[in-house]
């Protein structure tokens, strides 16, 4: 099959061009002052770094980590039992529940955020039921939005691991004298850790970097790192500070992936 290898070669260069090169360009941008990505009048400077200390940016980073962290934790607390329940259903209607869980994801994400926004406004359709939720601009609204949008991303990786788990291991541990709780804590849970980790990554990363969601549900009062980055690239055209912030996000992602991969190695 050697002759088929050349089918993959262009892909390698294509991916390097579109994945590695931008990171390089962004690194250069974050150490310099330019107009956009025009390098003709480049001037190297560290002033982007000194701007990082400003409270707007620090607050955005802290907001991103705490709100996305809380949302991820809630997703895990709801998502794990749900995945467990579905994986252990003794019915041929399992696919129906899975389809019901997947279908909301086919609905436009932005519009689902808008639906929550319409609901959280003091004047909402709920008024006819005598309820007025005045939640826009609160952290609670942002967290509810995040949980609602990203919950499936937590459920599916965990479900996949639980569903594929070798059931004879559970029987073996029961034969060896473990009670139901011990089977769970000593066998099922440790074996599902890889699913939990991918679930956490799949929920935490997009929710921490979201910008439309905090903008709509936070009413402009709660800024996340995504809002600041969007602002830099789309409104004030400060590509240098924007690049620095994006590079920080990328470094954080790869650092956490590195830690996860190392831990995974030691667990197995």
């Amino acid at each position: 099959m050697k002759e088929l290898r050349k089918l993959a070669t262009p892909y390698k260069w294509f991916m390097i061009l579109l994945v590695a090169i931008p990171v390089l360009i962004m690194t250069v941008l974050s150490f310099s002052k330019t107009s956009g990505v025009d390098f003709t009048n480049i001037r190297f400077t560290l002033e982007n770094f000194s701007k990082l200390g400003q409270s707007v940016y620090l607050e955005a980073i802290v907001n991103s980590l705490t709100l996305a962290g809380v949302a991820t934790l809630i997703c895990l607390v709801i998502g794990y039992p749900i995945a467990y329940i579905i994986a252990n259903l003794q019915t041929d209607k399992k696919w129906l529940i899975l389809v019901l869980l997947i279908s909301p994801m086919w609905s436009n994400m932005l519009l689902r955020i808008i639906a929550w926004e319409q609901l959280f406004k003091p004047n909402s359709i709920l008024n006819s039921l005598g309820i007025s939720l005045d939640l826009i601009g609160t952290r609670l609204a942002v967290v509810i939005g995040m949980v609602s949008i990203y919950l499936p991303f937590m459920i599916f990786p965990i479900y996949t691991v639980l569903d594929k788990m070798d059931k004879s291991l559970l029987e073996a541990s029961r034969d060896l004298g473990a009670n139901k709780l011990q089977v769970f804590t000593k066998v099922v849970f440790p074996l599902s850790l890889s699913g939990i980790i991918s679930g956490i990554i799949m929920t935490l990363l997009p929710s921490a970097t979201a910008f439309a969601l905090p903008l709509r549900l936070g009413g402009g009062k709660i800024l996340l790192i995504g809002n600041v980055i969007e602002n830099m690239f789309k409104k004030v055209y400060n590509y240098n500070l924007g690049s620095l912030l994006s590079i920080m996000v990328i470094v954080l992602i790869f650092a956490s992936m590195g830690i996860v991969n190392r831990d995974k190695g030691s667990l197995i």
Binding site: M1, E3, L4, K6, L7, A8, T9, Y11, K12, M15, L17, L18, V19, I21, P22, I25, M26, G36, I78, I82, I85, V99, L100, P104, M105, S107, N108, M109, L110, L111, I114, A115, W116, Q118, L119, K121, N123, S124, I125, N127, S128, S148, L151, I155, K180, L181, I201, L205, T209, A212, R216, G226, I229, E230, Y239, S246, V249, I250, I253, M257
Partner: protein, 280 residues
């Protein structure tokens, strides 16, 4: 004791999950038939927003753009992704692992990082932002999904089939087209479905890679929100999409359950190589 508590929690948990996920959809559904164009009161039932999907020019353009990009991106990324996956499968294990790691980076990266990276490369290359850059971006983020859904099928494919085709006089390319691709059809279809749904729903990456006024549905929506001029036809369009995908998902599942027994026979038939097609 704890087991009992967990069992008691089962129903409430399912209810909470479905509520939190379906609440927005219900609201969107209600607002799509609401007579008032403001979302704060229900003023009666109407179908007018469903007809406005076609009469409101900017929305219609945005929907046509979304579908054009999604269909083109799906076709191109499925074709490229399948060939790339075949190439990756033929690589030496070490190289394969390395390329797969590269393949997975866009999958892990949050949309904003992917969108920004592409925007920076495109403006570095002085490309004209618009439909081509958005299409290129959609192809870029769809290919890894196609590769990942095709690869498992390739792994379980008997390599001897390919060599047999070569022995019977196929060139490598026609062996790929006539033997490998029909055998991994289900993986290709899954990949194409994922690519299409990713593309049709994408906001962030499109937002960063478009320009010169070319907008898809999500970008149209985002721009409208800023200007507070927002037509409920958007709710109507989304409700239609949700309904259609729901029906398709149900149909696929019902069909796959019904044909479970028949499938084994079918697979046997389809993997048989029909010698007559190679006579040319």
């Amino acid at each position: 004791m704890i087991v009992k508590i967990l069992k008691a929690c089962r129903l409430p948990l399912l209810v909470i999950t479905f509520l939190i996920m379906y609440f927005p959809l219900i609201i969107i559904g209600i607002l799509s038939v609401n007579k008032s164009s403001y979302a704060h009161a229900f003023k009666g039932f109407t179908w007018q927003w469903y007809t406005e999907i076609f009469s409101e020019a900017t929305l219609r353009t945005a929907i046509i753009n979304t579908l054009t990009v999604a269909i083109l991106a799906t076709i191109i990324s499925t074709a490229l992704g399948t060939l790339i996956a075949i190439g990756i499968q033929a690589l030496r294990p070490k190289e394969k692992k390395r390329l797969l790691m590269l393949n997975n980076i866009p999958l892990i990266n949050p949309d904003i990082v992917t969108g920004l990276s592409l925007m920076i490369v495109f403006s570095f290359l002085h490309l004209r932002f618009g439909i081509t850059t958005m299409l290129a971006a959609h192809i870029f983020f769809s290919i890894p999904f196609v590769v990942l859904s095709v690869l498992p099928k390739l792994q379980s494919l008997d390599k001897d089939l390919y060599y047999a085709a070569l022995d019977l006089g196929c060139t490598p390319m026609s062996a790929v087209l006539k033997v490998i691709i029909p055998a991994i059809k289900s993986g290709i279809i899954t990949g194409a479905l994922i690519a299409f749904t990713m593309s049709i729903d994408d906001f962030v990456i499109s937002y960063f890679t478009t320009g010169n006024g070319f907008s898809n549905f999500s970008i149209w929506l985002y721009a409208r929100l800023g200007r507070k001029s927002f037509s409920p036809a958007a709710y109507a369009y989304n409700t239609c999409i949700t309904m259609v995908t729901f029906v398709i998902l149900m149909a696929i599942n019902i069909k796959s359950i019904k044909s479970k027994k028949g499938r084994i026979l079918n697979e046997k038939n389809s993997s048989c190589i029909d010698n007559t097609t190679y006579s040319s």
